[in-house]
């Protein structure tokens, strides 16, 4: 706002000179953000451009020779069966994962909301799965689901559900469920903490008034909690969708995308093609497809974040 006034000041110089004067006048502000801006441009901006460039080349990771191939990677990707298989697998991975995290998170949050003795203890305990290395959670779940020595099979046998150990992660039909369970476990704490914060910001009077009007617990949940929590649910679900979409460490450690690619997702495939197989060009083209998905998420996020006027 102050900017416009400065521009209307009569100035002798050209636009360019006035621009320089403006920069000089605010040099301290620009100098302070410069390191961060330059850093992000080179560590994030440059790789983005590099990804786009590489996607038009045949570029083996172990050689310096690059051959221009135009849109060949994209054409081959869209014509391949694996691409559509990956879209389907990524879709179910995100959908089931986010739904599981949201429901379990909401359940935890609702029960932590009231006047709970030892809430700090509970909150810390529920937080831990989110804060430990994904690779560690992944090996622990591999261990739990181990066909011979796993705890899951031991429990199922004890309960009489099965009489012999089953190998979930080795079975192409159900392996993804074995992985998604680990991912839900990792992602639930974030949901629970966000929902809890959201729940605590709902004024208690709303519930009191509803109780006086004779609203049942369920009705209070349906007509007060859910509407009041709407924007929190929206943001948390969106963030969780992004993180589930790009989840790498868990899948890579648990199955590496197997068996026969059934637990692979778009980002796992990027890694496998680009870095594991060393086909940088093809991997880059898959990355660009990944960018497009993230772009959609980012636009939605920014719209929600900057909604309702200028907050910056």
């Amino acid at each position: 706002m102050g900017i416009a006034e400065e521009y209307t000041e009569p100035s002798a110089g050209s636009r360019f000179e006035r621009g320089l004067q403006y920069l000089w006048k605010h040099r301290q502000a620009y100098l302070l953000i410069a390191p961060a801006a330059i850093f992000l441009l080179s560590v994030v901006g440059w790789p983005i451009l590099e990804t786009f460039r590489l996607s038009f080349y045949e570029s083996p990771a172990d050689s310096t020779i690059e051959t221009y191939v135009g849109f060949q990677h994209y054409v081959e990707i869209f014509q391949s069966d694996i691409f559509y298989q990956l879209l389907w697998q990524t879709g179910r991975w995100v959908l089931v994962g986010v739904a599981g995290k949201a429901l379990l998170g909401l359940l935890i949050a609702i029960h932590l909301k009231g006047d709970i003795r030892g809430r700090k203890f509970f909150r810390t305990a529920f937080l831990i799965p989110w804060g430990i290395p994904y690779a560690i959670s992944a090996v622990v779940f591999r261990w739990i689901e181990h066909p011979q020595y796993g705890y899951l099979n031991a429990i199922l046998i004890k309960l009489g559900v099965i009489d012999q150990g089953i190998g979930i992660l080795g079975n192409p039909e159900v392996a993804w469920l074995g992985v998604v369970v680990a991912d839900i476990w990792i992602g639930t704490p974030f949901m629970a903490i966000i929902f809890l914060a959201g729940l605590q910001s709902i004024p208690e009077e709303l519930y009191e008034a509803a109780a006086i009007d004779g609203a049942e617990k369920w009705e209070q949940f349906r007509y007060i909690t859910i509407p009041q929590l709407k924007s929190v649910i929206l943001i948390a679900t969106l963030l969780s969708t992004i993180w589930t979409f790009v989840s790498f460490d868990t899948i890579w450690t648990m199955t590496g995308g197997g068996p026969i690619n059934t637990t692979s997702t778009l980002v796992i495939w990027i890694y496998q093609v680009g870095l594991q197989n060393g086909n940088l060009g093809r991997g880059a083209a898959y990355s660009v497809v990944g960018f497009l998905f993230l772009l959609v998420f980012a636009v939605i996020y920014l719209r929600i974040y900057t909604r309702g006027g200028d907050e910056l």
Partner: protein
């Protein structure tokens, strides 16, 4: 009156019952991990698994020092995490301060661009990043892990500190300036001490991020002597055979420092998690 009290008692019992059940589900993997590390070798490979160790033994904790590089990995994890924290703060503090105190063309774009980076998951960028890291000539050095980790924690730090700097009244700085304090003194002696909660939240977030991530170490460090904890654990997963007892023991040791962090800094971690999602 009595009936009402009984009903609220009943509700309490049900509430705690559900909470403890949920806690049990969420804690079960930890139980599976911890209890397995205390089983002697003969018992851990019994099928079906025993849910409670028949005899507790700390043998695996003794063997793990001798047979694995767990100490080295922990050391590397600290090095990478602290390096990332230092670099991120060095970049984020000036940028956030500048945005909180000045109005200039490009500020809004800068802050929004930073927010977009937050969403730009490293794995989608990993192919381009691999190319750039190689061109920087830092492949297989700690910088190859610290620099990308700093880039992806910077957004959180900038926004967290930016929001907090705005709440510190400028008049405080004015009076210090009148007393003859330099800009640097104002920042280090007055502003930063007041920013402690935001700084602790930022540092914890960055530390955890760098400690927990496998991707950068997996991709950019080939030298086994530079592995961090996640990479070390990952390296113990065998194609055909895995020494589960050793691997789980390393895992337990690898999360112990984090458990200490959670116990002491839980409030700051929660503040950080909710900062972006729950608006006051």
């Amino acid at each position: 009156m009595m009936a009402g009290q009984e009903r609220s008692q009943l509700r309490k019992v049900r509430l705690y019952g559900v909470l403890i059940a949920l806690l049990g589900i969420m804690m079960f993997p930890f139980y599976a991990m911890f209890s397995s590390t205390f089983k002697p070798e003969s018992e851990i490979f019994s099928s079906p698994a025993t849910l409670f160790p028949a005899e507790a033994s700390i043998q695996s904790y003794i063997e793990v020092w001798a047979q694995t590089d767990v100490l080295l990995w922990i050391g590397n994890s600290f090095l990478i995490s602290l390096g990332t924290v230092a670099l991120t703060l060095l970049l984020a503090i000036p940028a956030a301060y500048s945005c909180a105190r000045n109005d200039f063309v490009g500020k809004r774009s800068f802050l929004l661009a930073v927010l977009v980076v937050q969403m730009f998951a490293p794995v989608v960028l990993i192919v381009g990043l691999f190319d750039v890291i190689t061109q920087f000539g830092i492949y297989n050095t700690y910088f190859a892990v610290i620099i990308p980790a700093a880039a992806f924690t910077l957004p959180f730090n900038v926004w967290m500190l930016y929001g907090y700097f705005q709440t510190i009244p400028e008049s405080l700085e004015e009076s210090a300036r009148i007393d003859g304090a330099s800009q640097r003194q104002i920042l280090t002696k007055i502003v930063l001490p007041l920013t402690k909660p935001a700084l602790v939240a930022s540092i914890t977030y960055t530390f955890l991020y760098a400690w927990n991530r496998l991707l950068f170490v997996l991709t950019f460090l080939t030298d086994a002597g530079k592995y961090n904890i996640p990479r070390g654990v990952f390296s113990m997963v065998g194609a055909l055979q895995t020494d589960w007892r050793m691997m789980l023991t390393v895992s337990v040791i690898g999360i112990l420092p984090l458990l200490v962090l959670f116990a002491f800094l839980e409030e700051y971690i929660v503040a950080g998690m909710t900062a972006g999602a729950v608006k006051e």
